[in-house]
Protein backbone atom coordinates (compact mmCIF):
# COMPACT_ATOMS: atom_id res chain seq x y z
CA UNK A 1 0.00 0.00 0.00
CA UNK A 2 1.33 3.42 -0.87
CA UNK A 3 1.86 5.88 2.00
CA UNK A 4 -0.68 8.68 2.58
CA UNK A 5 2.16 11.19 2.30
CA UNK A 6 5.91 10.99 1.77
CA UNK A 7 8.70 13.53 1.65
CA UNK A 8 10.37 13.75 -1.76
CA UNK A 9 13.73 15.28 -2.63
CA UNK A 10 13.91 19.04 -3.10
CA UNK A 11 17.18 21.00 -3.01
CA UNK A 12 16.09 23.92 -0.88
CA UNK A 13 12.52 23.45 0.26
CA UNK A 14 10.19 20.69 1.39
CA UNK A 15 8.13 18.66 -0.99
CA UNK A 16 5.49 16.04 -0.20
CA UNK A 17 3.71 13.55 -2.40
CA UNK A 18 0.23 13.20 -0.95
CA UNK A 19 -2.43 10.62 -1.78
CA UNK A 20 -6.05 10.11 -0.78
CA UNK A 21 -9.00 7.84 -1.56
CA UNK A 22 -11.17 10.92 -1.92
CA UNK A 23 -10.55 14.66 -2.05
CA UNK A 24 -11.43 14.89 1.64
CA UNK A 25 -8.88 12.16 2.35
CA UNK A 26 -6.28 13.97 0.23
CA UNK A 27 -6.84 17.24 2.12
CA UNK A 28 -6.64 15.39 5.43
CA UNK A 29 -3.38 13.66 4.49
CA UNK A 30 -1.86 16.88 3.18
CA UNK A 31 -2.58 18.50 6.55
CA UNK A 32 -1.11 15.56 8.46
CA UNK A 33 1.98 15.66 6.25
CA UNK A 34 2.52 19.38 6.68
CA UNK A 35 1.95 19.32 10.44
CA UNK A 36 4.35 16.40 10.83
CA UNK A 37 7.11 18.47 9.17
CA UNK A 38 6.74 21.25 11.74
CA UNK A 39 7.64 19.15 14.80
CA UNK A 40 5.21 20.86 17.16
CA UNK A 41 4.81 20.11 20.84
CA UNK A 42 1.77 21.72 22.43
CA UNK A 43 1.23 22.58 26.08
CA UNK A 44 -1.02 20.25 28.10
CA UNK A 45 -4.56 21.38 28.72
CA UNK A 46 -7.79 22.04 26.89
CA UNK A 47 -7.93 22.86 23.22
CA UNK A 48 -9.98 25.56 21.56
CA UNK A 49 -12.33 24.51 18.76
CA UNK A 50 -12.87 26.64 15.67
CA UNK A 51 -15.16 26.10 12.70
CA UNK A 52 -14.66 27.66 9.25
CA UNK A 53 -15.68 27.29 5.65
CA UNK A 54 -13.54 28.03 2.61
CA UNK A 55 -14.23 28.35 -1.06
CA UNK A 56 -11.86 28.86 -3.95
CA UNK A 57 -11.91 28.99 -7.70
CA UNK A 58 -10.46 25.50 -8.09
CA UNK A 59 -9.45 22.51 -5.97
CA UNK A 60 -5.71 23.29 -6.01
CA UNK A 61 -6.31 26.82 -4.72
CA UNK A 62 -8.65 25.38 -2.08
CA UNK A 63 -5.89 22.99 -0.94
CA UNK A 64 -3.39 25.86 -0.60
CA UNK A 65 -5.95 27.95 1.31
CA UNK A 66 -6.74 25.02 3.62
CA UNK A 67 -3.08 24.46 4.51
CA UNK A 68 -2.48 28.21 4.95
CA UNK A 69 -5.44 28.31 7.33
CA UNK A 70 -3.71 25.69 9.49
CA UNK A 71 -0.42 27.62 9.51
CA UNK A 72 -1.84 31.05 10.31
CA UNK A 73 -2.38 30.59 14.10
CA UNK A 74 1.27 29.55 14.58
CA UNK A 75 2.76 33.04 14.45
CA UNK A 76 -0.18 35.21 15.35
CA UNK A 77 -1.63 33.22 18.26
CA UNK A 78 1.32 30.98 19.15
CA UNK A 79 -1.18 28.14 18.74
CA UNK A 80 -0.99 24.93 16.73
CA UNK A 81 -3.62 22.69 15.23
CA UNK A 82 -3.64 19.45 17.22
CA UNK A 83 -6.70 17.87 15.66
CA UNK A 84 -9.10 18.63 12.84
CA UNK A 85 -12.02 17.44 10.78
CA UNK A 86 -12.37 18.48 7.19
CA UNK A 87 -14.88 17.78 4.48
CA UNK A 88 -14.33 18.81 0.88
CA UNK A 89 -17.59 19.75 -0.80
CA UNK A 90 -18.52 20.29 -4.42
CA UNK A 91 -17.45 23.41 -6.36
CA UNK A 92 -14.11 23.82 -4.56
CA UNK A 93 -15.54 24.39 -1.11
CA UNK A 94 -14.81 22.87 2.28
CA UNK A 95 -15.92 23.01 5.89
CA UNK A 96 -13.61 22.25 8.75
CA UNK A 97 -13.32 22.22 12.51
CA UNK A 98 -9.85 22.61 13.96
CA UNK A 99 -8.65 22.20 17.54
CA UNK A 100 -5.91 24.55 18.68
CA UNK A 101 -3.51 24.40 21.60
CA UNK A 102 -0.76 26.78 22.68
CA UNK A 103 2.69 25.81 21.42
CA UNK A 104 5.34 24.54 23.85
CA UNK A 105 7.97 24.15 21.13
CA UNK A 106 8.18 24.07 17.35
CA UNK A 107 11.14 22.83 15.33
CA UNK A 108 10.57 24.18 11.82
CA UNK A 109 9.13 27.16 10.04
CA UNK A 110 7.11 26.99 6.83
CA UNK A 111 7.16 30.31 5.02
CA UNK A 112 4.49 29.40 2.51
CA UNK A 113 2.48 26.71 0.75
CA UNK A 114 3.33 27.08 -2.94
CA UNK A 115 1.56 26.22 -6.20
CA UNK A 116 4.80 24.82 -7.64
CA UNK A 117 4.03 21.45 -9.30
CA UNK A 118 0.66 21.43 -7.53
CA UNK A 119 -1.68 19.45 -9.72
CA UNK A 120 -4.33 17.23 -8.17
CA UNK A 121 -4.61 14.18 -10.42
CA UNK A 122 -7.04 11.32 -10.45
CA UNK A 123 -5.17 8.04 -10.08
CA UNK A 124 -6.33 4.45 -9.78
CA UNK A 125 -6.46 4.61 -5.99
CA UNK A 126 -8.09 8.04 -5.79
CA UNK A 127 -6.20 11.35 -5.89
CA UNK A 128 -2.57 12.38 -5.76
CA UNK A 129 -0.53 15.59 -5.82
CA UNK A 130 2.85 17.08 -5.00
CA UNK A 131 2.99 20.02 -2.59
CA UNK A 132 6.11 22.17 -2.25
CA UNK A 133 6.54 24.26 0.91
CA UNK A 134 8.89 27.24 1.02
CA UNK A 135 10.99 26.85 4.17
Amino acid sequence: MQPAFEEIEHTADWALRVRGDSLTDLFRNAAFGMLSLLGIESVPGNSESRYFELKAEDTETLLVSWLEELLFPLEVENAAVVDFQVEVLEKAQLKATIKLKKIASIKKEIKAVTFNELDIRTVESGYETIIVFDV
Binding site: H10, T11, E57, V76, E109, K111, F115, D134
Partner: protein, 483 residues
Protein backbone atom coordinates in the same frame (compact mmCIF):
# COMPACT_ATOMS: atom_id res chain seq x y z
CA UNK B 1 14.50 17.65 -17.98
CA UNK B 2 17.25 19.85 -19.39
CA UNK B 3 20.40 17.84 -20.11
CA UNK B 4 23.96 18.94 -20.74
CA UNK B 5 23.58 18.32 -24.46
CA UNK B 6 20.85 20.99 -24.51
CA UNK B 7 23.33 23.68 -23.39
CA UNK B 8 25.47 25.71 -25.78
CA UNK B 9 28.80 26.75 -24.30
CA UNK B 10 29.61 30.38 -25.18
CA UNK B 11 32.73 30.93 -23.01
CA UNK B 12 34.38 28.95 -20.20
CA UNK B 13 31.80 30.41 -17.77
CA UNK B 14 28.85 31.30 -20.01
CA UNK B 15 26.26 28.87 -21.39
CA UNK B 16 22.97 29.25 -23.16
CA UNK B 17 19.73 27.36 -23.53
CA UNK B 18 18.37 28.60 -26.89
CA UNK B 19 14.69 29.23 -27.55
CA UNK B 20 14.75 26.22 -29.85
CA UNK B 21 14.94 23.98 -26.75
CA UNK B 22 11.21 24.32 -26.10
CA UNK B 23 8.46 25.78 -28.20
CA UNK B 24 6.98 28.02 -25.51
CA UNK B 25 10.27 29.80 -24.65
CA UNK B 26 10.08 33.50 -25.52
CA UNK B 27 13.73 34.33 -24.73
CA UNK B 28 16.90 32.25 -24.27
CA UNK B 29 18.40 31.39 -20.87
CA UNK B 30 21.97 32.58 -20.19
CA UNK B 31 23.83 30.69 -17.45
CA UNK B 32 26.99 31.83 -15.70
CA UNK B 33 28.78 28.73 -14.39
CA UNK B 34 31.89 26.63 -14.83
CA UNK B 35 31.53 23.02 -15.87
CA UNK B 36 31.44 21.66 -12.28
CA UNK B 37 28.68 24.10 -11.30
CA UNK B 38 26.74 23.21 -14.45
CA UNK B 39 26.95 19.55 -13.48
CA UNK B 40 25.79 20.37 -9.96
CA UNK B 41 22.81 22.36 -11.25
CA UNK B 42 21.81 19.56 -13.61
CA UNK B 43 21.19 17.48 -10.47
CA UNK B 44 17.88 19.24 -9.83
CA UNK B 45 15.25 21.20 -11.77
CA UNK B 46 17.07 24.57 -11.74
CA UNK B 47 17.42 24.86 -15.52
CA UNK B 48 13.91 23.53 -16.19
CA UNK B 49 12.58 26.25 -13.91
CA UNK B 50 14.67 28.83 -15.81
CA UNK B 51 13.15 27.54 -19.06
CA UNK B 52 9.66 27.83 -17.53
CA UNK B 53 10.48 31.40 -16.51
CA UNK B 54 11.49 32.23 -20.07
CA UNK B 55 7.87 31.69 -21.17
CA UNK B 56 6.61 34.72 -19.20
CA UNK B 57 5.15 37.46 -21.43
CA UNK B 58 7.01 40.71 -22.09
CA UNK B 59 10.48 39.51 -21.05
CA UNK B 60 13.58 41.19 -22.38
CA UNK B 61 16.22 38.68 -23.49
CA UNK B 62 17.68 36.71 -21.75
CA UNK B 63 16.66 35.05 -18.48
CA UNK B 64 19.91 35.07 -16.50
CA UNK B 65 21.02 32.26 -14.20
CA UNK B 66 23.75 32.76 -11.59
CA UNK B 67 26.38 30.13 -10.64
CA UNK B 68 24.77 29.61 -7.20
CA UNK B 69 21.49 28.55 -8.83
CA UNK B 70 19.36 25.83 -7.30
CA UNK B 71 15.83 24.59 -7.63
CA UNK B 72 13.21 26.81 -6.04
CA UNK B 73 9.45 26.89 -6.52
CA UNK B 74 8.48 28.10 -9.98
CA UNK B 75 11.40 30.48 -10.57
CA UNK B 76 14.89 29.15 -9.81
CA UNK B 77 16.84 30.59 -6.88
CA UNK B 78 19.68 32.51 -8.51
CA UNK B 79 17.52 33.72 -11.40
CA UNK B 80 17.11 37.16 -12.98
CA UNK B 81 14.31 38.09 -15.39
CA UNK B 82 13.57 41.57 -16.74
CA UNK B 83 10.12 42.42 -18.09
CA UNK B 84 9.51 45.44 -20.24
CA UNK B 85 7.11 48.28 -19.44
CA UNK B 86 4.25 48.58 -20.24
CA UNK B 87 3.38 45.14 -21.66
CA UNK B 88 5.63 43.06 -19.40
CA UNK B 89 4.51 41.32 -16.25
CA UNK B 90 5.27 41.27 -12.55
CA UNK B 91 5.27 37.86 -10.85
CA UNK B 92 5.14 37.58 -7.04
CA UNK B 93 6.49 34.00 -7.11
CA UNK B 94 9.46 35.19 -9.18
CA UNK B 95 10.39 37.56 -6.37
CA UNK B 96 9.74 35.04 -3.62
CA UNK B 97 7.85 34.72 -0.36
CA UNK B 98 10.66 36.33 1.64
CA UNK B 99 10.38 39.69 -0.11
CA UNK B 100 13.63 41.68 0.22
CA UNK B 101 15.48 38.90 1.92
CA UNK B 102 18.95 40.37 1.94
CA UNK B 103 22.28 40.88 3.65
CA UNK B 104 23.71 43.72 5.70
CA UNK B 105 27.42 44.05 6.41
CA UNK B 106 28.75 46.01 9.36
CA UNK B 107 32.48 46.61 9.83
CA UNK B 108 34.65 47.66 12.75
CA UNK B 109 38.11 48.78 13.77
CA UNK B 110 38.20 45.90 16.27
CA UNK B 111 41.16 43.55 15.81
CA UNK B 112 40.24 39.86 15.99
CA UNK B 113 43.46 39.20 17.93
CA UNK B 114 42.40 41.68 20.65
CA UNK B 115 38.98 40.16 21.28
CA UNK B 116 39.47 36.47 20.59
CA UNK B 117 38.69 35.62 24.21
CA UNK B 118 35.50 37.72 24.14
CA UNK B 119 33.91 35.91 21.20
CA UNK B 120 31.93 33.49 23.37
CA UNK B 121 30.49 36.45 25.28
CA UNK B 122 29.71 38.23 22.02
CA UNK B 123 27.91 35.11 20.77
CA UNK B 124 25.84 34.94 23.96
CA UNK B 125 25.00 38.65 23.82
CA UNK B 126 23.96 38.46 20.15
CA UNK B 127 21.84 35.40 20.85
CA UNK B 128 20.17 37.13 23.81
CA UNK B 129 19.60 40.51 22.12
CA UNK B 130 18.63 39.43 18.60
CA UNK B 131 15.41 37.36 18.72
CA UNK B 132 15.69 34.31 16.49
CA UNK B 133 13.98 30.98 15.87
CA UNK B 134 10.57 29.80 14.79
CA UNK B 135 7.64 31.83 16.12
CA UNK B 136 9.82 34.11 18.26
CA UNK B 137 8.49 37.66 18.48
CA UNK B 138 10.53 40.84 18.29
CA UNK B 139 11.49 43.52 20.77
CA UNK B 140 9.36 46.08 18.91
CA UNK B 141 5.59 45.71 19.07
CA UNK B 142 3.92 47.83 16.41
CA UNK B 143 0.42 49.28 16.34
CA UNK B 144 -1.35 49.17 12.97
CA UNK B 145 -0.58 52.88 12.53
CA UNK B 146 3.13 52.37 13.23
CA UNK B 147 3.26 49.31 10.97
CA UNK B 148 1.82 51.44 8.15
CA UNK B 149 4.63 53.94 8.77
CA UNK B 150 7.23 51.16 8.59
CA UNK B 151 5.65 50.08 5.30
CA UNK B 152 5.99 53.56 3.82
CA UNK B 153 9.26 54.68 5.41
CA UNK B 154 11.41 51.56 5.78
CA UNK B 155 14.77 52.41 7.33
CA UNK B 156 13.69 56.04 7.80
CA UNK B 157 11.23 54.78 10.44
CA UNK B 158 14.17 53.18 12.24
CA UNK B 159 16.10 56.46 12.08
CA UNK B 160 13.18 58.40 13.60
CA UNK B 161 12.89 55.81 16.35
CA UNK B 162 16.58 55.73 17.26
CA UNK B 163 17.43 52.38 15.72
CA UNK B 164 19.61 53.85 12.95
CA UNK B 165 22.17 56.49 12.05
CA UNK B 166 21.93 58.64 8.94
CA UNK B 167 25.02 56.91 7.52
CA UNK B 168 23.26 53.54 7.71
CA UNK B 169 20.52 54.76 5.40
CA UNK B 170 22.97 56.22 2.90
CA UNK B 171 24.70 52.85 2.75
CA UNK B 172 21.53 50.84 2.14
CA UNK B 173 20.15 49.90 -1.29
CA UNK B 174 17.51 52.54 -2.19
CA UNK B 175 18.44 54.25 1.10
CA UNK B 176 16.27 51.61 2.76
CA UNK B 177 13.02 53.01 1.35
CA UNK B 178 11.24 51.84 -1.79
CA UNK B 179 8.78 54.48 -2.96
CA UNK B 180 5.21 53.66 -3.94
CA UNK B 181 4.43 51.52 -0.88
CA UNK B 182 0.72 51.46 -0.09
CA UNK B 183 -0.42 49.73 3.13
CA UNK B 184 -4.00 49.56 1.80
CA UNK B 185 -2.77 46.93 -0.67
CA UNK B 186 -2.03 44.55 2.22
CA UNK B 187 -4.38 42.09 3.90
CA UNK B 188 -5.26 42.29 7.58
CA UNK B 189 -3.62 38.88 7.99
CA UNK B 190 -0.29 40.24 6.74
CA UNK B 191 -0.60 43.13 9.15
CA UNK B 192 -1.36 40.79 12.05
CA UNK B 193 1.79 38.83 11.25
CA UNK B 194 3.92 41.93 10.77
CA UNK B 195 3.06 43.70 14.02
CA UNK B 196 5.10 41.47 16.30
CA UNK B 197 8.04 40.46 14.14
CA UNK B 198 10.09 43.59 13.57
CA UNK B 199 13.67 43.05 14.69
CA UNK B 200 13.62 39.26 14.41
CA UNK B 201 15.97 36.97 12.54
CA UNK B 202 13.66 34.00 11.93
CA UNK B 203 14.94 30.50 11.20
CA UNK B 204 16.09 28.41 8.21
CA UNK B 205 19.13 29.81 6.43
CA UNK B 206 18.97 33.19 8.17
CA UNK B 207 21.85 34.11 10.44
CA UNK B 208 23.97 36.69 12.18
CA UNK B 209 27.66 36.03 11.75
CA UNK B 210 30.83 37.63 13.07
CA UNK B 211 33.63 37.36 10.52
CA UNK B 212 37.26 38.37 10.28
CA UNK B 213 38.54 40.09 7.16
CA UNK B 214 40.81 37.40 5.78
CA UNK B 215 42.21 38.95 2.63
CA UNK B 216 41.85 42.19 0.69
CA UNK B 217 41.78 42.13 -3.13
CA UNK B 218 40.96 45.77 -3.89
CA UNK B 219 42.74 48.15 -1.50
CA UNK B 220 40.99 51.38 -2.50
CA UNK B 221 37.48 49.95 -2.39
CA UNK B 222 38.20 48.13 0.88
CA UNK B 223 39.44 51.38 2.38
CA UNK B 224 36.27 53.17 1.29
CA UNK B 225 34.27 50.40 2.98
CA UNK B 226 36.39 50.51 6.13
CA UNK B 227 37.61 46.94 5.67
CA UNK B 228 41.14 45.87 6.64
CA UNK B 229 42.72 42.49 7.24
CA UNK B 230 42.30 41.07 10.73
CA UNK B 231 39.35 43.31 11.67
CA UNK B 232 35.91 42.08 12.75
CA UNK B 233 32.78 42.44 10.63
CA UNK B 234 29.17 41.34 11.16
CA UNK B 235 26.73 40.00 8.56
CA UNK B 236 22.96 39.96 9.07
CA UNK B 237 20.96 37.78 6.68
CA UNK B 238 17.14 37.91 6.92
CA UNK B 239 14.08 39.40 5.25
CA UNK B 240 10.51 40.54 5.73
CA UNK B 241 9.48 37.60 7.96
CA UNK B 242 5.83 36.45 8.15
CA UNK B 243 4.72 39.86 6.89
CA UNK B 244 6.37 39.36 3.49
CA UNK B 245 5.44 35.67 3.38
CA UNK B 246 1.75 36.52 3.83
CA UNK B 247 1.83 39.30 1.21
CA UNK B 248 3.36 36.98 -1.38
CA UNK B 249 0.95 34.14 -0.50
CA UNK B 250 -2.04 36.48 -0.81
CA UNK B 251 -0.98 37.70 -4.26
CA UNK B 252 0.07 34.30 -5.64
CA UNK B 253 -3.41 33.08 -4.72
CA UNK B 254 -5.14 36.17 -6.13
CA UNK B 255 -3.12 36.07 -9.37
CA UNK B 256 -4.33 32.54 -10.10
CA UNK B 257 -7.45 34.19 -11.50
CA UNK B 258 -5.61 37.23 -12.90
CA UNK B 259 -3.67 35.07 -15.37
CA UNK B 260 -6.98 33.74 -16.70
CA UNK B 261 -8.36 37.27 -17.08
CA UNK B 262 -5.29 38.34 -19.05
CA UNK B 263 -5.09 35.12 -21.07
CA UNK B 264 -1.60 34.24 -19.81
CA UNK B 265 -0.66 30.56 -20.20
CA UNK B 266 1.97 29.19 -17.81
CA UNK B 267 3.87 25.92 -17.43
CA UNK B 268 3.79 26.23 -13.61
CA UNK B 269 1.09 27.90 -11.52
CA UNK B 270 3.67 29.35 -9.13
CA UNK B 271 4.77 31.67 -11.95
CA UNK B 272 1.42 33.50 -11.93
CA UNK B 273 1.76 37.13 -12.89
CA UNK B 274 -0.13 40.22 -14.00
CA UNK B 275 0.76 42.97 -16.47
CA UNK B 276 2.88 45.68 -14.83
CA UNK B 277 0.37 48.38 -15.67
CA UNK B 278 -2.73 46.38 -14.72
CA UNK B 279 -4.58 47.22 -11.48
CA UNK B 280 -3.48 43.85 -10.05
CA UNK B 281 0.15 44.38 -11.04
CA UNK B 282 0.24 47.89 -9.58
CA UNK B 283 -1.36 46.72 -6.34
CA UNK B 284 1.15 43.90 -5.91
CA UNK B 285 4.02 46.31 -6.59
CA UNK B 286 2.70 48.65 -3.87
CA UNK B 287 2.37 45.69 -1.48
CA UNK B 288 5.83 44.36 -2.37
CA UNK B 289 7.28 47.80 -1.57
CA UNK B 290 5.67 47.60 1.90
CA UNK B 291 7.35 44.24 2.55
CA UNK B 292 10.65 45.48 1.12
CA UNK B 293 10.59 48.49 3.45
CA UNK B 294 9.68 46.26 6.38
CA UNK B 295 12.71 44.06 5.59
CA UNK B 296 15.10 47.04 5.37
CA UNK B 297 13.74 48.21 8.72
CA UNK B 298 13.99 44.69 10.17
CA UNK B 299 17.69 44.40 9.33
CA UNK B 300 18.19 47.93 10.68
CA UNK B 301 16.62 47.10 14.06
CA UNK B 302 18.74 43.93 14.21
CA UNK B 303 21.84 46.02 13.41
CA UNK B 304 20.92 48.23 16.37
CA UNK B 305 20.78 45.13 18.63
CA UNK B 306 24.11 43.91 17.24
CA UNK B 307 25.71 47.27 18.09
CA UNK B 308 24.20 47.08 21.58
CA UNK B 309 25.65 43.59 22.02
CA UNK B 310 29.13 44.76 20.99
CA UNK B 311 28.89 47.66 23.43
CA UNK B 312 27.75 45.39 26.28
CA UNK B 313 30.67 43.04 25.82
CA UNK B 314 33.49 45.23 24.54
CA UNK B 315 33.02 48.66 26.17
CA UNK B 316 36.08 49.28 28.33
CA UNK B 317 37.93 46.33 26.80
CA UNK B 318 38.82 47.85 23.44
CA UNK B 319 39.23 51.55 22.63
CA UNK B 320 36.54 51.55 19.90
CA UNK B 321 33.75 48.96 19.69
CA UNK B 322 31.69 50.80 17.09
CA UNK B 323 30.26 49.06 14.01
CA UNK B 324 29.73 51.12 10.85
CA UNK B 325 27.57 50.00 7.98
CA UNK B 326 29.30 48.87 4.79
CA UNK B 327 26.13 48.17 2.80
CA UNK B 328 22.73 46.46 2.81
CA UNK B 329 21.44 44.68 -0.28
CA UNK B 330 18.29 42.87 -1.29
CA UNK B 331 18.42 39.51 -3.04
CA UNK B 332 14.68 38.83 -3.48
CA UNK B 333 13.13 41.82 -5.20
CA UNK B 334 11.43 43.30 -8.25
CA UNK B 335 12.97 46.65 -9.18
CA UNK B 336 12.03 49.22 -11.79
CA UNK B 337 15.25 50.06 -13.62
CA UNK B 338 16.45 51.35 -16.98
CA UNK B 339 18.73 49.09 -19.00
CA UNK B 340 20.18 49.37 -22.47
CA UNK B 341 18.76 46.63 -24.68
CA UNK B 342 19.87 46.45 -28.33
CA UNK B 343 21.28 49.96 -28.05
CA UNK B 344 18.01 51.37 -26.73
CA UNK B 345 17.19 52.50 -23.17
CA UNK B 346 14.35 50.36 -21.89
CA UNK B 347 12.39 50.63 -18.65
CA UNK B 348 12.05 47.20 -17.10
CA UNK B 349 11.03 45.44 -13.91
CA UNK B 350 14.01 43.28 -12.97
CA UNK B 351 12.97 40.23 -10.93
CA UNK B 352 15.91 39.04 -8.86
CA UNK B 353 15.31 35.94 -6.78
CA UNK B 354 18.41 34.76 -4.99
CA UNK B 355 20.39 37.33 -6.99
CA UNK B 356 21.64 40.79 -6.07
CA UNK B 357 21.82 44.06 -7.90
CA UNK B 358 25.44 44.69 -8.97
CA UNK B 359 25.51 48.10 -10.64
CA UNK B 360 28.83 49.38 -11.90
CA UNK B 361 30.84 52.54 -11.14
CA UNK B 362 29.12 55.89 -11.54
CA UNK B 363 25.62 54.73 -10.60
CA UNK B 364 23.86 57.72 -9.03
CA UNK B 365 21.97 55.69 -6.44
CA UNK B 366 25.23 54.76 -4.74
CA UNK B 367 26.68 56.71 -1.82
CA UNK B 368 29.32 59.09 -3.08
CA UNK B 369 32.13 57.17 -1.39
CA UNK B 370 31.34 54.04 -3.45
CA UNK B 371 30.49 55.73 -6.74
CA UNK B 372 34.00 55.45 -8.25
CA UNK B 373 34.08 51.70 -7.53
CA UNK B 374 30.59 50.31 -8.13
CA UNK B 375 27.94 48.86 -5.87
CA UNK B 376 29.05 46.60 -3.01
CA UNK B 377 27.79 43.05 -3.54
CA UNK B 378 27.58 40.88 -0.42
CA UNK B 379 27.91 37.14 -0.91
CA UNK B 380 27.55 35.13 2.28
CA UNK B 381 29.00 31.64 2.32
CA UNK B 382 27.83 28.70 4.39
CA UNK B 383 28.63 28.48 8.11
CA UNK B 384 32.13 27.04 7.85
CA UNK B 385 33.25 28.77 4.67
CA UNK B 386 34.25 32.20 3.47
CA UNK B 387 31.93 35.06 2.58
CA UNK B 388 32.81 37.62 -0.04
CA UNK B 389 32.52 41.34 -0.58
CA UNK B 390 32.43 42.12 -4.30
CA UNK B 391 31.73 45.12 -6.51
CA UNK B 392 29.32 45.48 -9.39
CA UNK B 393 30.90 46.22 -12.78
CA UNK B 394 30.08 48.02 -16.01
CA UNK B 395 29.95 44.65 -17.75
CA UNK B 396 27.21 43.42 -15.43
CA UNK B 397 24.99 46.13 -16.92
CA UNK B 398 25.23 44.55 -20.36
CA UNK B 399 25.49 40.89 -19.38
CA UNK B 400 23.15 40.33 -16.44
CA UNK B 401 20.86 43.39 -16.08
CA UNK B 402 23.31 44.69 -13.45
CA UNK B 403 23.05 41.56 -11.30
CA UNK B 404 25.32 39.06 -9.57
CA UNK B 405 25.18 35.98 -7.34
CA UNK B 406 23.80 36.00 -3.78
CA UNK B 407 25.52 33.14 -1.94
CA UNK B 408 26.90 29.64 -2.20
CA UNK B 409 23.65 28.00 -3.32
CA UNK B 410 22.34 24.72 -1.98
CA UNK B 411 23.32 21.49 -3.65
CA UNK B 412 22.00 18.93 -1.14
CA UNK B 413 18.37 18.59 -0.06
CA UNK B 414 17.46 19.29 3.55
CA UNK B 415 16.26 15.71 3.81
CA UNK B 416 19.60 14.32 2.65
CA UNK B 417 21.53 16.73 4.90
CA UNK B 418 19.57 15.55 7.95
CA UNK B 419 20.19 11.92 6.99
CA UNK B 420 23.93 12.39 6.50
CA UNK B 421 24.83 15.02 9.08
CA UNK B 422 24.28 15.00 12.83
CA UNK B 423 23.82 18.56 14.15
CA UNK B 424 25.85 18.06 17.33
CA UNK B 425 28.77 16.53 15.38
CA UNK B 426 28.71 19.43 12.96
CA UNK B 427 28.74 21.92 15.79
CA UNK B 428 31.78 20.23 17.35
CA UNK B 429 33.51 20.08 13.96
CA UNK B 430 32.96 23.80 13.36
CA UNK B 431 34.03 24.68 16.89
CA UNK B 432 37.24 22.72 16.33
CA UNK B 433 37.83 25.07 13.38
CA UNK B 434 37.42 28.02 15.76
CA UNK B 435 33.83 28.85 14.80
CA UNK B 436 31.43 29.39 17.71
CA UNK B 437 27.90 28.24 16.92
CA UNK B 438 24.63 29.23 18.63
CA UNK B 439 21.68 27.46 17.03
CA UNK B 440 18.03 27.08 17.98
CA UNK B 441 17.82 23.51 16.70
CA UNK B 442 20.40 20.82 15.96
CA UNK B 443 18.46 19.25 13.04
CA UNK B 444 18.06 22.79 11.68
CA UNK B 445 21.83 23.26 11.99
CA UNK B 446 22.43 19.98 10.13
CA UNK B 447 20.20 21.14 7.26
CA UNK B 448 22.42 24.21 6.88
CA UNK B 449 25.73 22.34 6.97
CA UNK B 450 28.48 23.66 4.67
CA UNK B 451 28.38 20.29 2.87
CA UNK B 452 24.79 21.06 1.77
CA UNK B 453 26.07 24.06 -0.21
CA UNK B 454 28.22 24.61 -3.27
CA UNK B 455 31.75 25.96 -2.94
CA UNK B 456 31.24 29.71 -2.54
CA UNK B 457 34.80 30.40 -3.74
CA UNK B 458 34.00 28.62 -7.03
CA UNK B 459 30.78 30.64 -7.38
CA UNK B 460 32.71 33.89 -6.85
CA UNK B 461 35.41 32.87 -9.34
CA UNK B 462 32.71 32.44 -12.00
CA UNK B 463 31.11 35.88 -11.53
CA UNK B 464 34.58 37.47 -11.54
CA UNK B 465 35.66 35.58 -14.67
CA UNK B 466 32.36 36.42 -16.33
CA UNK B 467 33.10 40.10 -15.61
CA UNK B 468 29.86 40.76 -13.69
CA UNK B 469 31.59 41.37 -10.33
CA UNK B 470 35.05 42.12 -8.92
CA UNK B 471 36.62 40.97 -5.66
CA UNK B 472 37.13 43.34 -2.72
CA UNK B 473 37.55 41.15 0.35
CA UNK B 474 37.14 37.65 1.68
CA UNK B 475 35.68 37.14 5.17
CA UNK B 476 36.17 34.16 7.50
CA UNK B 477 33.47 33.21 10.07
CA UNK B 478 34.23 33.07 13.79
CA UNK B 479 30.73 33.26 15.36
CA UNK B 480 27.47 32.05 13.80
CA UNK B 481 24.02 32.67 15.32
CA UNK B 482 21.20 30.69 13.70
CA UNK B 483 17.52 30.68 14.52
Amino acid sequence: MVEKKDLIQITDVTWEIPTSYREDMRVPVRIFADEALIDAALGDKSFDQAVNTSTLPGLVSPVVVMPDVHQGYGFPIGGVAASRYPDGIISPGAIGYDINCGVRLLASGISFADVKRELTHLALALDANCPSGVGVGGSVRLTTKELDKVCRQGSAWALKNNYARRDDLERTEEQGQIHGADPSSISSRAKQRGKGQLGTLGAGNHFIEIDVVDEIFHEAAAEAMGLAEGLLTVQIHCGSRGFGHQICSDYVREFQSAVKRYGIKLPDRELVCAPLNSPEGKRYKAAMACAANYAFCNRQVLAHHVRRSFEQVLAGRVPDWDLHQVYDIAHNMGKTETHVVDGEKVRVCVHRKGATRAFGPGFEGLPEVYRPFGQPVLVPGSMGTASWVLLGTEESMTKSFGSSCHGAGRVMSRRQAKREIWGQDLREELEAQGIIIRAGSMPGLAEEAPKAYKDVDAVVEVVVRAGIAAKVARLRPVVVIKG
